[in-house]
């Protein structure tokens, strides 16, 4: 018997850790992983609410979020590889111009 609030609180804490990672890290790969962590925290809240309302809609939304995250990772990592090939460096501070 776990109150559903606890899951929501855990989700908020995980989301904040992800946001903190985006703010303090310079490595774009770790920033990307932090974004995945934030998506995951959102998913946890969705499943908790789905359990609370005894409805499948939340779970189906999580399924879509997982699919979108997979697509996002494929394109994002391709972009990072491409930036690395052009600049020989992936420090986020160097990425200040759109032109290669």
């Amino acid at each position: 018997m776990v109150p559903v609030d606890y899951y929501i609180i855990l989700s908020a804490i995980l989301f904040t850790i992800g946001a903190l990672g985006v703010l303090i890290r310079r490595n774009p790969l770790i920033i990307f992983m932090s974004i995945e962590l934030m998506l995951n925290a959102g998913n946890l809240a969705f499943v908790a609410f789905s359990n609370m309302h005894k409805s499948f809609n939340g779970q189906i939304f999580v399924f879509f979020v997982i699919a979108v995250a997979a697509a996002e990772v494929a394109v994002g990592l391709a972009l990072i590889v491409e930036i690395f090939k052009t600049k020989k460096n992936i420090n986020i501070d160097e990425m200040n111009s759109l032109k290669g």
């Binding site: 303090i24 962590l37 946890l44 779970q59 399924f63 690395f84």
Partner: protein, 174 residues
């Protein structure tokens, strides 16, 4: 204190510790492995919440496919740890302050406004039955058929985009 609450508290400690380890470890490979640990604990939370299908998708898609892609790119680029550059002195304190404000605000709003007065009980055996999955599939393919098809197009576009991006030189040479 019941056993479910103990499982929840221990697992949430593991999840938060893995998330912090992901953000603060110096080596990007360790970060990726910490994130895998976090994804697996979240999958166990899904099982506790009675969503076995989502839990298994989480493990196969997130902990399996996505993180392998991450590890592959980290090792391909040799980006385990970047050379330290001149950092802004106010960046870290500012980030911690903003994160503290975010967590306090969101917890205050969630606890004071949402107030879901519901307890999650242990999922019964019916959750693991085929009927449960069938019902979920019926919802997905009746009520959410259009989003499902749009997702398939999104995945196709992402695949084409990734190939085009990483294959740019060859296209330019023609």
């Amino acid at each position: 204190m019941n056993s479910e609450l103990i499982v929840f508290l221990v697992l949430s400690l593991v999840a938060v510790a893995a998330a912090l380890g992901m953000v603060f470890s110096r080596n990007a490979v360790y970060s990726a492995l910490f994130l895998v640990l976090n994804f697996i604990t979240v999958a166990v939370f899904y099982l506790l919440l009675g969503a076995p299908f989502i839990a298994m998708s989480q493990i196969t898609v997130y902990a399996g496919a996505i993180m392998v892609l991450f590890l592959f790119v980290i090792m391909l680029l040799g980006a385990e740890s970047l050379a330290p550059t001149a950092s802004l002195p106010w960046q870290k304190p500012m980030a911690f302050t903003l994160a503290a404000i975010l967590v306090v605000e969101s917890l205050y709003l969630l606890i004071s406004r949402a107030k879901p007065d519901v307890v999650v009980t242990a999922p019964d055996i019916a959750v693991n039955s085929m009927d449960n999955l069938r019902e979920m599939a019926m919802t997905m393919f009746n009520q959410f058929l259009l989003p499902f098809e749009v997702t398939s197009i999104l995945l196709l576009v992402a695949m084409v985009g990734a190939i085009v991006l990483t294959n740019r030189e060859k296209a330019g040479r023609k």
